[in-house]
Symmetry: C2
Subunit: 298 residues, 2 copies
């Protein structure tokens, strides 16, 4: 059905090996003329190497496993799109895996990917523990963790690419302070990860430096279930905003630990009959999303 390397070889009057050499850039000791003949044959026949055969022989495959909590979360959706477009430029395909924050599913996906010969994985996991990736690292899988500041118990050989949590929180908080806000609230779920801890610390240190009194700072750390989904996060944010706004001295602005909590907070503010960006968080625009993309790698 499809064109094979053999047919190309025949058309260019060379051996399949030579075509393979052209394909893989091993053309150092090859007559330029021969190379051109092969390239023309490839173009003319519309030949595309069979990936299955190539993978079977080499063991390598140009595929990237992308493990995210859920691509239904707009943050991860946007992220997935970016990843896919970059991967495409390098000839990589992207296999989508939604872990749903389940350690077992995460491990299962890694197992599947490994069985498929996919040895490059971008793992976005905010699970308290990811000790289940250790065996895969040992088997030689290349795993890069995103958005996970390394924490105790994490495999030491795991590469991390993350945002600068502390700086982000500082920027967000400073922004609100500059707008004149004095009663600030920080909304987060359980502070189970280093990410969240650093964001909270960034917030606290900034209000502290600004000389804001402790009783003007409200910190909401939901103690809900360990494996809260994204919709839960929005619900938590919503409840938090409602509850905080009903207090005697309600906050005039909010910092949320991520987009889903922020979305929830916005809803909660509206529930309270207030307007985001006007009654609450008074600023030039309505809301600001500002975790700075800065890389810490090793």
């Amino acid at each position: 059905m499809a064109v094979t390397i053999q047919e190309v070889a025949r058309a260019a009057n060379v051996s399949p090996s030579t075509v393979s050499n052209v394909l893989n850039g091993r053309d150092s000791r090859m007559l330029p003329e021969t190379k051109v003949r092969v390239e023309q044959a490839i173009a003319q026949l519309g030949y595309r190497p069979n990936r299955a055969a190539r993978q079977l022989r080499t063991g390598r495959i140009q595929m990237l496993g992308l493990v995210v909590p859920s691509v239904a979360n707009p943050f991860w959706g946007t992220f997935a799109q970016l990843v896919e477009s970059v991967a495409l430029r390098s000839g990589f395909r992207v296999l989508l895996c939604n872990s749903e924050r389940d350690p077992q599913r995460e491990a299962e996906y890694l197992e599947e990917l490994w069985a498929d010969g996919v040895s490059s994985v971008l793992l976005c996991s905010s699970l308290p523990s990811i000790s289940h990736v250790q065996p895969f690292l040992e088997r030689g899988m290349t795993i890069v963790a995103f958005d996970r500041t390394s924490q105790l118990g994490d495999p030491p050989s795991l590469t991390n690419v993350s945002v600068d949590n502390s700086l982000g929180a500082q920027l967000a908080t400073s922004h609100l302070l500059e707008l004149g806000h004095r009663r600030l609230a920080f909304v987060s779920g359980r502070v189970h990860s280093v990410n969240r801890k650093e964001r909270l610390d960034g917030f606290l240190s900034t209000v502290d430096r600004a000389g804001i009194a402790a009783n003007e700072v409200l910190v909401w750390k939901d103690s809900g279930s360990g494996r809260a989904g994204d919709l839960d996060a929005a619900e938590v944010g919503r409840a938090a905003a409602r509850e905080l706004l009903s207090r005697p001295c309600p906050p005039t602005a909010f910092v949320a630990t991520n987009d889903m909590f922020a979305i929830g907070v916005c809803a909660g503010v509206r529930d309270a009959g207030l307007r985001v960006g006007a009654d609450v968080g008074r600023s030039s625009g309505s809301t600001t999303s500002c975790w700075p993309i800065s890389l810490s790698r090793r």
Copy 2:
């Protein structure tokens, strides 16, 4: 490195063929005892068939191409997650492809998928013309179009699974009428697809049946660029809402042709200093998303 079928065969004291037969359910004329021996060997060695080899031999591969405009759009993100979870249950992997509403990219993705041996594709395309899929259908690719009511020029052999556009629009419009709204607006981009036309018609026929006067109905059809992205849609919705609300007799409720326009409309309403679900669209909740999932297939 990995366990092969040969090793399983040796462990179970049978030939590789027999293991293969067990694997593929061809066990009709096989001693139950033999089958059990093979299964135990598989389990014990943790054997997983090599997909590359299998694909090379059979030409088939358990992979689904998912082509969406952009997974950064929460609608498609949610959709992608659903698709992925269903596919997983059947042992299918999902290859993510963001077409960005570009016919050329769409065709290129199909080409790549075909070259990879992926012959099952779920195509979500609202492009005015998808004649570029015709050659792939002819080559034997199985393509199912989602969210695209068949239109003139579409390949006749293309299977469609779509929402019931007219019913959806009727439900949305009736809902608002029941809440007592009389001045309604319909916000859409260019009505370039049958989908959008049917939604608009559903809206118009419902207000008509309700005896709403023509001058109380506002229809916004942006004439912007042909290949408007999702963010553009939100911007269009926003501008539409602002403009419509500044008129002498502004609408009290909006029906949008899809989520992104609706998000934009919400922003525009807030820009005008009004509250969604209170000043505008007064209802039990704030907004309602209601395209009914009904299948029309052939």
